[in-house]
């Protein structure tokens, strides 16, 4: 006996009421109690998004936040069975529909993405690559922390209080986000484009500090000097310390 069309319609009516608040009559229901489902479903959505995006939530007014979250949950069919993926779907939904609030807060999407990245890096499945913790910084190939992500922003959402960001801040900002192997905590590093480029090269394969400096110099059309090597080595030392670079390639 297949599911009857009428049963499907009743199930769909209840689900759609929970998502949108628009009620289509269902036989035999308790009209007063059914409102609990809308309340409970929406409080799960609101709790999830509010806790995932504390900065964005603090930036916009309560009314604006409610309009964003209600719009999202009514119009976007959440596709992940895992509720903690919802913030990512929220970000993607807002970036596709170009919500009017994005004109008022031109950096809102970047702020949401920045907040999601922190969750994403903290939660993501472990990535394991071979490396040695001990090595010679001047001669051994360096290994990038595989649990890292490179990001470019047009607004300094990672540097400035969101309420103080203005159109005048529009520029190019480069950063990395990585997870510390022991504690699992997430760390952000603000970088120049040249340093970020070095990390991109390392992401492809382990590489020595000299080869890194030489390649970036040639890409930028700068003459390679000892001073540049010294600056790069300093950056690599800091990155080893912060575990953005986790160690040295095994021979």
């Amino acid at each position: 006996m297949p599911l009857l069309e009428s049963t499907y319609r009743n199930q769909s009516a209840l689900a759609s009421y929970c998502r949108t608040g628009n009620y289509r009559p269902i036989k035999g229901i308790n009209k007063k109690n059914i409102t609990q489902y809308r309340r409970l479903v929406f409080s799960i959505v609101d709790d999830m998004l509010t806790s995932a995006f504390p900065l964005a939530y603090g930036l916009v007014s309560n009314r604006e936040w409610a309009s964003l979250t209600k719009d999202f949950f009514s119009n976007h069919p959440c596709s992940s069975p895992q509720v903690w993926h919802m913030p990512k779907e929220f970000y993607h939904y807002l970036s596709t529909i170009r919500h009017p609030l994005l004109a008022k807060y031109p950096f809102l999407l970047e702020l949401l993405w920045f907040e999601w990245l922190e969750i994403d890096l903290y939660m993501m499945a472990d990535k394991i690559v071979p490396y040695n913790s001990i090595g010679d910084i001047s001669t051994d190939a360096l290994v990038l922390n595989p649990e890292s992500h490179f990001q470019h922003f047009n607004y300094p959402v990672h540097l400035k209080n969101a309420k103080k960001i203005t159109k005048a801040d529009h520029s190019n900002y480069y950063l990395t986000i990585h997870r510390l192997p022991e504690t699992g905590s997430v760390s952000f590093t603000n970088l120049s484009p040249a340093l970020l480029r070095m990390l991109e090269i390392l992401a492809n394969q382990p590489c020595t500090v000299t080869a890194l400096s030489q390649q970036v110099c040639s890409e930028l059309g700068i003459t390679y000097t000892d001073d540049i090597l010294k600056t790069t080595t300093g950056f690599i030392q800091e990155s080893l310390q912060s575990q953005l670079i986790i160690g040295f390639a095994p021979n």
């Binding site: 769909s12 689900a15 059914i34 959440c78």
Partner: protein, 276 residues
């Protein structure tokens, strides 16, 4: 055996001290699949200490939508990797028209829905290659019912060989909300199919409505219903204390675990005397 729902809120404390000593822990696979880093480390430490029971949230057995086979395969892998002893899911739907709702909506009590659910349980068991346990959920309104709740459940159980997860608090909540006798309801279930029991607290919103929150302590009438259930069962089965919100000191949770253990032991002792 009395276990506890493994919550991030007290995960670290549970592992660091012996204040709380459950016989097993229960998690929702949805909350742990694909998770690495800090939480994975902690979770695997817990797995070294406790057997794992699992209780799914999003498989949406009662949904009119297609079964999500990709997700089901991930669940299967998770159950293998974690050596999970039980996989249970809810007799409800959490997804419709391709949208997840992340909550448990009541299935219409109709014959066609019961057949549909039974068929899906079979499909799930085939993929997972194991028997699952289904849980009767609490609900706040019937949806276009054509048969009674008990007939609906028993029809499903007749059509398939899955186990039953009996959430005693859910039966209490439903008996209050829909005005029936909780003990009679339990007596009318095929109790030989019950493999696992859930116990939890709830919130009474009004004279006519209780919401199943898992955010309060278990109340005495629910403990009484638990005693009744164990006596009727006449055998020892695993019991879980569910506490998802408003989590108290672990000492308090341990007291609830102790009380469940005592009630169960006493009820079974008396049953054995009666049988002897």
């Amino acid at each position: 055996m009395v276990g506890i729902g493994f919550r991030k809120d007290f995960a670290a404390e549970l592992l660091q001290s012996n204040t709380l000593s459950p016989s097993f822990i229960e998690v929702a696979p949805e909350n742990w699949i694909g998770v690495g880093g800090y939480w994975k480390k902690l979770f695997y430490k817990a797995l070294e200490k406790y057997p794992l029971y699992t209780h799914g949230l999003s498989l949406s057995i009662g949904s009119p939508d297609e079964l999500d086979y990709d997700f089901l395969k991930k669940v299967k892998l998770f159950l293998t990797e974690t050596n999970a002893e039980i996989y249970s899911e809810h007799l409800s739907y959490a997804k419709c028209d391709n949208a997840h709702l992340y909550d448990l909506l009541p299935i219409p009590f109709t014959q066609d829905a019961a057949m549909h659910v039974a068929k899906r349980i079979e499909m799930i068991q085939n993929v997972l290659d194991r028997k699952i346990a289904i849980e009767i959920v609490s609900y706040y309104s019937p949806v276009a019912p054509e048969i009674t709740e008990i007939d609906f459940i028993n029809l499903i159980l007749k059509q398939t060989d899955c186990d039953l997860l009996l959430d005693v608090n859910n039966v209490y909540v439903n008996s209050f909300n829909h005005q029936y006798d909780a003990k009679q309801f339990i007596n009318a279930l095929p109790l030989e199919r019950v493999s696992y029991i859930h116990m939890a607290g709830h919130l009474q919103l009004s004279d006519t409505l209780i919401i199943d929150t898992h955010g309060e302590a278990i109340i005495d009438p629910v403990f009484d219903l638990f005693e009744h259930t164990i006596k009727k069962l006449g055998r020892d089965i695993p019991v879980l204390l569910e506490r998802d919100f408003n989590i108290p000191e672990l000492e308090e949770l341990q007291l609830e675990i102790d009380r469940l253990q005592t009630i169960k032991q006493d009820a079974l002792k008396k049953e054995n005397y009666a049988a002897a």
